[in-house]
Point group: C2
Amino acid sequence: MSSYKDKKVITIGIVHELTGISERKIRYYEQRELIFPDRTKNGTRKYSFSDVERLTEIADMREEGVQTYEIKKDMKNKKKYKDVREDMLRGQLNAHFRMRK
Amino acid sequence: MSSYKDKKVITIGIVHELTGISERKIRYYEQRELIFPDRTKNGTRKYSFSDVERLTEIADMREEGVQTYEIKKDMKNKKKYKDVREDMLRGQLNAHFRMRK
DNA sequence: CGTGTAAGGAATTCTGACACG
DNA sequence: CGTGTAAGGAATTCTGACACG
């Protein structure tokens, strides 16, 4: 659902420049599965602008004392609600088409 | 007039991955003033998605045999026409407001 | 748990130059 | 003119580990 925003092309040093978040933290959040960079053929991490935004969100939550474990649970919840919304939409569409038949 | 597209965050190696254009060529087109990357504090070149698109345009023109000098002239022409269009627009606006006074 | 840091190696990038055509 | 390549150095990135709290 996008183009530039989700293209993974930014190296970790520049992500750090952009966000002020230490490379150590950025790598750690990946280890905790909060963020999922691509890799170049030689193993260098590549991030998208979306990842950069996500990282600032994570950093904000961490500053509020939220643990990485909770942040990850939050992600799942958001995904679940998103799926629920999509299911509901599908249901409505199905009902709609059933009526038209 | 943009955000992600013009943000200079992509290193030369990734630009090469993205376009297939050799780093030598990319640097050379900068020397000929066809492209203008930013630099990190330590001198590493940083390109935007716009730059990447511009580079593929340049590469296409080069394949057709157009010399860098001509490509540069083309840029100036495009800029001139753009300026002319903007001047005309300004002229129309001015005329419009004069009439309303 | 979350993050800093020193360690060692591998890959990246940079510049100036020589080559060829 | 446009581009490849080897050269040497500096900066980047990676991983695994130790430290502290």
